[in-house]
């Protein structure tokens, strides 16, 4: 097959990737203030979707609607419809705790529990009843830490506090913690903004590997990071979804002038 034919086949494959989450006419209000305006954005399975845009554009707000983190904010109201597979996640019958086990989250600042490394990872499986015996927990802890690329660095000190790790290690511990409950989707809100370039590279490599088993949505302020880790990119501006495109296209030849101005660092 010629190179062009391979490219085409890959493109077609991209377009037939099943949709993991569907956001339809999603609006979010904080009291009187409207933060999102009828956003229609689909999240493809086993794909890294990057959400970009200037501060206050609504990208984090959208991310948080995907596992109902906005529920914890008073006065916050979400309208529209978001489905995970076929389930409407805002349906009253949905158990939010269970939803957040299916749609996990990693935050901007590493926030390990003030407990041992082992406890940090085994806590989720414990409360969700995913394991019973010590051997089961041991296995979950090991595989989760391995998936997070942290096992070799911490296997001899699992009982030491998670807060004693370096920033980059803490963030990978948080990823291991998110992975431990076998989520389907992992949301990441600027997961590398507090990390140095080496720790950032490790987390990016991890995102690349996790994509095989998980669907990932990442909010980032780093254009280069979005370009490196994602296959799809969505650009937000003033609460609107401006453009959603293949990442390669988005960073070489975007369709929308606002995207162009933003990624090139020009006044918009």
């Amino acid at each position: 097959m010629s190179e062009a034919a391979v490219e085409k086949a890959l493109d077609q494959k991209m377009n037939t990737v099943p949709l993991k989450m569907i956001g339809k006419d999603v609006s979010v209000y904080y009291g009187e203030k409207r933060a999102l305006f009828d956003v229609n954005l689909n999240i493809r399975e086993n794909t890294v979707t990057a959400l970009i845009g200037p501060s206050g554009c609504g990208k984090s707000t959208f991310l948080r609607t995907l596992n109902r983190m906005n529920d914890t904010i008073e006065n916050c109201r979400v309208t529209g419809r978001i489905t995970l597979d076929e389930d409407d996640i805002y349906d009253p019958s949905i158990d939010v705790v269970e939803l957040r086990a299916r749609v996990g989250m990693v935050f901007q600042k590493p926030n390990p529990f003030p407990k041992s490394i082992y406890e940090n990872v085994s806590y989720g499986p414990r409360i969700h009843g995913l394991a019973r015996t010590k051997a089961d927990f041991d296995e979950i802890v090991e595989t989760s830490l391995q998936k997070a690329g942290l096992w070799n660095e911490v296997k001899d000190r699992l009982q030491e506090p998670g807060t004693g790790l370096s920033g980059g290690q803490q963030q990978r511990l948080c990823i291991a913690r998110a992975v431990a409950v076998s989520p389907e989707v992992i949301l990441m809100d600027e997961p590398c903004s507090a990390l140095d370039p080496i720790a950032t590279a490790k987390v990016e490599e991890l995102i690349h590997e996790l994509r095989a088993n998980f669907t990932i949505v990442i909010v980032t302020h780093s254009m280069q990071q979005a370009a490196r880790v994602s296959q799809r990119t969505a650009m937000f501006h003033l609460g609107n979804l401006v453009e959603e495109n293949d990442t390669d296209k988005m960073f070489t030849n975007p369709d929308d002038q606002r995207t162009q101005d933003y990624i090139m660092g020009r006044f918009g």
């Binding site: 002038q257 990624i263 006044f267």
Partner: protein, 237 residues
């Protein structure tokens, strides 16, 4: 392209590349025109000037390349900015080649001088050079305006140069067959004609690069070709 960069130093770096490319273009044009004039008039001093001017063009290409690399490393440019910088590198390389071709023509002036180029052939070469120079000049104007439509129209005009080159080729073969003493000068002239024809190709390359810089897409369709010399091996009539 409507807004300036937030960091104005980035704009300055891009402007530097644009300015240097324009300078290179001007010098390359001058070298090509001088080389053909030197050839037709057997002007050895002018040929020598073209040969030494080539070093300036080589330097300029190196400097543009280095500046482009530093800018990419520093700014990590995206989209149109990235295409602009990559385009600068490619255009600089094409212009450097145009300079080399001019220099090559200039070097042949000594070999051809004294053998008395038939007036008709000289006119043919001059005409070929005129067309190549018009194309080069226009492509440099398009570089300044970044108009993808104009870039496309230049691309379509390379045909004419190819056609004239083919007829010159035919004519030179005829001279060589008439008298074997013509073979040496005519072979040199054949290379000179080829050099000039290649300049048209580089102008077309540059037009395609500009089209890509402006639109982010490759120009559609095959490049028009009317250079038939590759099948002209056995002209006996």
């Amino acid at each position: 392209m409507t807004h300036a960069h937030i960091t104005s130093a980035f704009d300055e770096e891009l402007k530097y590349l644009t300015r240097r490319i324009s300078e290179m273009g001007g010098l390359a044009e001058q070298m090509v025109a001088d080389s053909v004039r030197a050839l037709v008039n057997s002007d050895l001093a002018l040929a020598q000037k073209v040969i030494s001017d080539d070093a300036i063009l080589d330097d300029a290409e190196r400097q543009i390349g280095e500046k482009a690399i530093v800018t990419i490393a520093k700014r990590q440019p995206m989209a149109a900015d990235l295409r602009e910088i990559m385009g600068s590198i490619r255009i600089a390389a094409d212009l450097e080649r145009v300079g080399d071709l001019g220099k090559n023509t200039a070097k042949r002036v000594i070999a051809v001088a004294g053998s008395g180029i038939p007036r008709k052939l000289a006119r043919g070469l001059e005409h070929l050079a005129e067309l190549a120079l018009i194309q080069l000049k226009e492509v440099l104007d398009v570089y300044a305006s970044r108009s993808p439509e104009k870039a496309n129209s230049i691309r379509e005009r390379d045909e004419e140069i190819d056609a004239i080159y083919t007829s010159l080729f035919r004519e030179l073969l005829t001279y060589m067959m008439e008298d074997p003493r013509n073979i040496t000068p005519c072979t040199h002239l054949l290379f000179c004609a080829k050099n000039i024809e290649r300049i048209g190709d580089h102008a077309t390359n540059i037009a395609e690069t500009i089209y890509y810089m402006a639109t982010g897409a490759q120009p559609q369709g095959e490049r028009p070709k009317d250079d038939m010399t590759s099948t002209l091996g056995s002209v006996t009539d």
